[in-house]
């Protein structure tokens, strides 16, 4: 399983930038909010991602296999590889 760098998955989901994924790692919705016009649509998601690992692949929205350990975590997308902090 290939290992990818965190920016690709964007633990700050919803932020603008070339490395930002298409989907929010917390809720799985489109990073740009989809049809919503609210600019802070993923504000709460960003806050939550400071306290929990992403559950959705930011590239494809697949639910990831997440393993949390006392001092770390990893999240694996079957298509896009393993993400770790």
């Amino acid at each position: 399983m290939k290992r990818v760098s965190p920016p690709y998955f964007s633990t700050t989901a919803g932020a603008a930038g070339p490395n930002t994924g298409q989907f929010c790692g917390h809720c799985g919705d489109p990073s740009d909010g989809g049809p919503s016009t609210a600019s802070d649509i993923h504000l709460r998601c960003r806050e939550r991602l400071a306290m929990e690992p992403p559950r959705y692949c930011a590239a494809c929205r697949r639910r990831m296999k997440v393993q949390v350990t006392p001092l770390g975590w990893s999240a694996e997308c079957s298509r896009h590889g393993v993400l770790a902090p």
Partner: protein, 341 residues
């Protein structure tokens, strides 16, 4: 969190009674007395926390017990505990995953390096099957070969044979929470009963393992039910009580439950300490969300004498160094390893 300091208990009040009864005589408060603690106004909260801290120092000592927890089997649980993102019955984003033994041993080493004396292996199951029991036996053997740390387990409801096996394998402590008051339990769990939980707890104690039996507060229970829970836990006389605060998880029936007020959480900490003066009272999940950094300090100065270091099972905790540095700052030594059982 700013509170008007009022550290002097007034004569004839519940805090004055608690000072005599709990601090001096070592007798925990009753359910009705605990309710009075939970109803204290904010102005009396500092005095309640101060008293709880004095009780902890007198009856438990100054040491703080540090523990790490890890999930060996995540998600896919057949039970419907309404707070839990690992139930397979809810539309939760948590996927099922098993941790391999080398990774488990590595985590045990990392946990021990923080100064922790307890490493708790947790599985999201109703109760362990043969496959899980074999995995646990293998994990215990590998960890004992390579790491100097007490091993605890939390594997759901046990049969008598499983209790005996875990004790024989050297499991130091077994966790099985009551979670909430008996009167509120059916609102939170429908796939098993309170009595089934008590059965496992009692078997664990009878087998000589230390019982870790905790609470999850902020699930919509009343103050009366919070007092009821503290009294029920006290009656069970567990060695340790991990105190969790609800972190509402997406997809669970309690996902829209608000986060409990930090002052109520601190009142609960004081109340649980005054209910159980000699028990290890551990800060567990949800404290970061409910209490933040300041609350962590207030809790440690208000009756708490143990922490889960680092992350939880599916969510992240404070950095281990933040808690460990705080203990240094507060002059609270970490409890040293004593292999027992």
């Amino acid at each position: 969190m700013t509170m008007q300091p009022d550290l002097q208990a007034k004569p004839g009040t519940i805090l004055q009674t608690a000072r005599t009864q709990v601090l001096e005589q070592g007798i925990g408060l009753s359910e009705s007395q605990l309710l009075e603690i939970l109803r204290l106004p904010d102005t009396e909260l500092p005095a309640a926390l101060q008293l709880a801290h004095e009780v902890r120092l007198r009856h438990c000592g100054e040491d703080v017990e540090v523990e790490g927890i890890i999930s060996i089997k995540t998600g896919g649980c057949p039970e419907d505990c309404h707070f839990c993102s690992q139930s397979g019955l809810f539309d939760s984003p948590v996927r099922g995953v098993w941790l391999d033994i080398p990774e488990l041993v590595k985590s045990a080493k990392e946990t021990a390096a923080t100064g922790a004396t307890e490493f708790c292996i947790v599985a999201a199951v109703r109760g362990p099957d043969i496959k899980l029991m074999n995995q646990i036996k293998f994990a215990i053997d590998r960890i004992n070969e390579e790491v100097d740390i007490n091993i605890a387990c939390s594997l759901g409801m046990l049969t008598q044979r499983q209790v005996d096996q875990l004790a024989e394998w050297g499991v130091h402590r077994y966790n099985h929470n009551l979670e909430t008051a008996r009167s509120y339990f059916p609102e939170v769990v429908t796939t098993h009963s309170y009595e089934e939980r008590l059965d496992t707890c009692n078997m664990v104690k009878a087998a000589g393992m230390e019982l870790c039996c905790g609470a999850l507060i902020g699930m919509g229970e009343s103050l009366e039910q919070r007092a009821e829970l503290a009294a029920q836990l006290a009656a069970l006389e567990p060695h340790e009580v991990p105190l969790n605060f609800l972190n509402p998880r997406p997809g669970t029936p309690l996902e829209n439950q608000g986060i409990m007020d930090g002052r109520d959480a601190l009142r609960a900490i004081a109340a649980f300490r005054l209910a159980m003066p000699r028990t290890v009272l551990r800060y567990a999940g949800g404290r970061e969300l409910t209490l933040g950094d300041l609350g962590t300090r207030e809790g440690l100065l208000g009756g708490i004498n143990a922490v889960i270091v680092g992350n939880y099972l599916t969510t992240l905790g404070r950095p281990a160094t933040a808690d460990l540095n705080l203990l240094v700052e507060l002059n609270m030594p970490i409890k040293e390893l004593q292999k027992t059982l």
